[in-house]
Symmetry: C2
Subunit: 605 residues, 2 copies
């Protein structure tokens, strides 16, 4: 977070107070220097984002299995909350696709879609996940989001995109289908496909074709007609709004509802009332796990967008403050009858491209949405659900990233296994199992790696003080001195493995009398590792080998100083490996044997 | 495993065949050179271990809630199986305290203690955990045991010792008590304490006092009477057998059963019949989790004992083969009507001290136990349960290790938290929750640490090629060159943290133009870390800083070569940090600024 220099007249104490207040209310920072230029840029961006957000808010409410008006409600106060508390200048908060799908999964677990209980569950989900985010922010637990690795998040988002698209096909066909996994959705769809309503299908397919064309060619089309590139790009983003306008007019004019085309229908006019959702311990406890997943996935998605866009303007965002901002946005969404929200990728990018300067742009968007809620709702009666489903399908297919698995396959089979398993499990068993499996898979891969570390026997590169693997480099070695570099922290996961490695090396080199453990890559030694080192020291001494350590890092050394190892150690602790080599093998240091490398290192010099 | 040189006459192929056969049947190795000296030593050790094992096998069966004869059955074939398959020369397999407690917990979850279903469950537990161990051995999954850190295992064993002692108090008092956690056991004991049988209490307390005295003073007592030290030590181990003999005679002579003293009573005479336990999918699926815990804890306990004793004679044991050996021991225990077994600490130490040379000692012990089963069973009718309970209590209190938590408190608060939580949870909710919590706590601590890594800005120690933390050492630095050493592998857990660290450092040092990441402690870079490096390279370039890498390890380099990072990287990859320093800051390398350290390193030179 960038802070301006405080005015010189203030005392230091009040400056500190202001700085800490600014930390929790970033609005205090940017609002003090808010210029007319910023105002006009923010207003332009807000208009464009509002035109995008109206169809999206209606569509994502539909995706969550909720009345479309709930989407409008979720696009008012949350935006104001983020404008006050958020540290990103351009993040656009509101309903997003993946969180709406997760809301449907969690609410569907306790009630039937369409029932008042289902709506109450969705509103409660926003409250619970909002409170969780707030708590995580206050206790600075933002690092918990790190439990999801990039491959897992990428796989989860791709699979969610496929699930979302599949779940919306029923609105395009005008049939019933349900389920939370690909098989259930697909099989019910196929069973009912014969009952497809041709008018609905016409509206749906027409909208899809129009939106796909708009996405690929509308910008170019407008540029060719003399509109400036950037303006054309932003106007192209209004395509969903245009589609809604056109199909609503067509449906109303041709009286298609009479022919079976489902529309949004009657929705209450005006702004929501502020209420705190009813405290229902049974319901809330059932929704705890779902809320946690929504909170974490929402945070991960939002912070990724915010960080990406902040970096483009050399700004920083504060993850813990972002938790507070998203938490209060969700609490307010719930209190105004909305469902869970977070920062969305596509709208934020548009907001950025449209030139938004400050979070005020989000507040203006909220005003735009409030006007829409008051003025547009009667008009939405004839809006066909097929149109909304079409906007969802076209939007989420861009979430499906097929390059990522290919890239990972090349870089690391293990990370590929992570993304493949996450995609497979999410498709096969829905989003909640998908998130859980993602965390578990990430952890399992980490543990698997940490328990099979790399260690190397090293020697000195001639004419340097640098030590490298004897199998990869021609290096100086001495027969009575064995130097082992362990490339991992010594923890309970690998202590046994490492002990075995050392004894194998000693067994292979019977002339060894001195053994140096080069600890340059040992970043910590846990209690199990410490016991292993103590045992190693004793057992090596029993077999006539003296154990030394070299290049022990400061923090590791501080800790070892509190154990018995340093008293018991037969050998010395050398500051540098070179010092150890010079002291323990002075002859070899000048004229020793050269190792014969047997591995060709790809790319390393 | 040490292998003898094969006889020269054999062809190479048959030698390989023999070597691989020896690997799976270690008996083939030691039996070929079995000498008369080894025979006599093994026999002596077997006699001593048999005298210890008879009371232990009866007592641990009681602890598991089973008829005492089941303990005898579990001490026959399993010992033979280990003699054939085991790689430790001195491990004594059979019933042990912690596994017996876990058997009681698991079997108690599906049936009432004392019922035929309970016995069937215990026998099935041995079969299932045996098959699991065999499978883990065949698929070389021995590393799974590493998921339990030393502090967690130590805490678990200590807490189990307390639980076991508490659970046996009912036999000392002659009342009823049940439960799997300390509160349940304690509260039922207190409720029934008024009904304590004075004769039972007399026998129990008398035995406890005798055993405690024997443990602390019997050896010295014997030495003073002219017996050799080692012999006296081994004779002292027979104290439980003596206690059993004496109390049985007293109980029989005084007809104490008529006064309410409970005894072992009628038990079947002779050897067990070999049967495969009935395949009962419902029962087996209920016992799966309990069996897994028994398998893993049994393996961890056994391998720790085996490795400790093997190291004393410079031998190695093969963890995967140990899994096969313990697995077949449990399968055979089950087939002969026994319950889960593993390698026990106290008996193995006695076997070692008594001079056992080969696993044949275990086989002779099995013969001794078979004779006992045939000859002693009528005599056991009058053996009081209070005596068995007393032997258990005195044995397990030595499992409670109070030094360990104190040591850990000093070394690492985090590891202390691990042992404290494991002890608390095991006492509060029983052994199964204790094991699970132990694994979870170990992992959580690992993740917590990995997500808060250490990184340091480093400079060159004058007159060396060695680079250390500017805050701990007086080192050469250059204002336009920033070198950051990250002390952890770059993974999804810490990528975001590290990116923040780098940008903070760059923001603090506006004159920086070149940034070197010193990767000597980076042991791997996962896909998330790679994406972070790619983003870092781009964003640093945007702000006019060139990113270089130095001391990238071979395996890491091999992998980076398969990504786009090396093509995109603006700067260079230096083999050594010194090379980077000389090239990028030639002036500073000779006469640059010296940093001012501000941390005093404890113990580091």
């Amino acid at each position: 977070m960038l802070q301006d220099t405080p005015p010189a007249a203030k005392t230091s104490a009040s400056v500190n107070g202001l700085a800490s207040l600014q930390r929790y209310f970033p609005i205090l920072e940017w609002s003090r220097t808010y210029s007319r230029l910023a105002l006009s840029r923010d207003l332009v961006a807000a208009v464009i984002v509002t035109v995008m957000l109206i169809p999206q808010s209606l569509a994502y409410a539909l995706l969550a299995g909720l009345p479309p008006v709930v989407g409008l409600y979720a696009s008012l106060l949350p935006l104001l909350a983020y404008a006050v508390f958020g540290t990103s200048r351009v993040l656009s908060v509101g309903p997003v696709a993946v969180i709406s799908l997760m809301t449907a999964a969690a609410a569907g677990g306790v009630a039937t879609a369409g029932s008042p209980e289902y709506l109450a569950a969705a509103i409660a989900l926003a409250m619970i996940s909002g409170l969780m985010l707030l708590a995580m922010g206050i206790f600075r637990l933002g690092f918990l989001a790190n439990l999801l690795s990039h491959p897992v998040v990428s796989g989860f988002i791709s699979a969610s995109g496929i699930l979302i698209a599949a779940s919306q096909l029923k609105h395009i066909l005008g049939v019933k289908a349900e389920g939370e996994d690909l098989y259930a959705i697909g099989s019910t769809l196929l069973r009912h496909a014969g009952d497809a309503n041709p008018y609905t299908l016409g509206v749906g397919l027409g909208t899809i074709l129009f939106l796909v064309w708009a996405r690929s060619s509308l910008k170019l089309f407008l540029v060719r007609r003399g509109i400036r590139r950037q303006a054309a790009g932003l106007m192209a983003k209004a395509a969903p709004a245009v589609a809604i306008l056109l199909t609503t007019i067509v449906v109303a004019a041709a009286d298609l509802p009479a022919k079976g085309v489902k529309t949004v229908g009657d929705i209450p006019i005006g702004l929501p009332h502020l209420v705190f959702p009813q405290w229902d311990p049974v319901l809330w406890s059932k929704l705890l796990v779902g809320s946690l997943f929504i909170a974490i996935i929402g945070f991960v998605e939002s912070i990724s967008v915010a960080q990406t866009l902040a970096a483009k303007r050399r700004r920083r965002i504060d993850p813990d403050q972002e938790l507070v901002a998203l938490g209060s946005a969700n609490v307010l969404s719930s209190m105004s009858g909305g469902f869970p929200v977070t920062g969305g990728f596509s709208r934020s990018v548009v907001n950025y491209d449209a030139g938004a300067e400050t979070p005020a742009s989000g507040a203006y968007t909220a005003i735009g949405m409030a006007l829409a809620s008051i003025l547009l709702t009667p008009f939405l009666f004839y809006l066909p659900l097929a149109t909304l489903a079409a906007t969802i399908i076209v939007a989420v297919l861009s979430l499906v990233d097929l390059d990522k698995p290919r890239e990972l396959w090349r870089y690391s089979k293990r990370d590929f296994a992570g993304i493949a398993a996450t995609i497979a499990i999410t498709l096969a068993d829905g989003v909640e199992t998908g998130v859980l499996a993602g965390v578990a898979i990430s952890l399992a891969l980490l543990v698997w790696h940490a328990s099979r570390p790399h260690a190397a026997v090293v020697g000195r590169i001639p004419h340097s003080e640098h030590f490298r693997n004897v199998r990869r480099h021609e290096v100086l070695v001495a027969p009575h001195l064995l130097t082992i570099r362990i490339d991992e922290s010594l923890t309970y996961l690998n202590s046994r493995w490492f002990e075995d490695f050392v004894f194998d090396q000693v067994a292979k080199n019977p002339e060894v009398r001195e053994l140096v453990l080069m600890c340059s890559a040992v970043n910590w030694v846990d209690a199990t590792g410490l016991e292993m080192l103590e045992a190693l020291n004793r057992r090596l001494a029993d077999s006539g080998v003296i154990l030394h350590l070299s290049e022990v890092k400061g923090p590791v050394m501080d800790r070892l100083a509190r154990s018995n190892l340093l008293d018991e150690l037969r050998g010395k602790i050398f500051l540098s490996q070179n010092e150890a080599f010079e002291k323990l093998a002075p002859a070899a240091a000048s004229e020793g044997h050269l190792s014969k490398p047997d591995i060709v290192t790809g790319g390393a010099k």
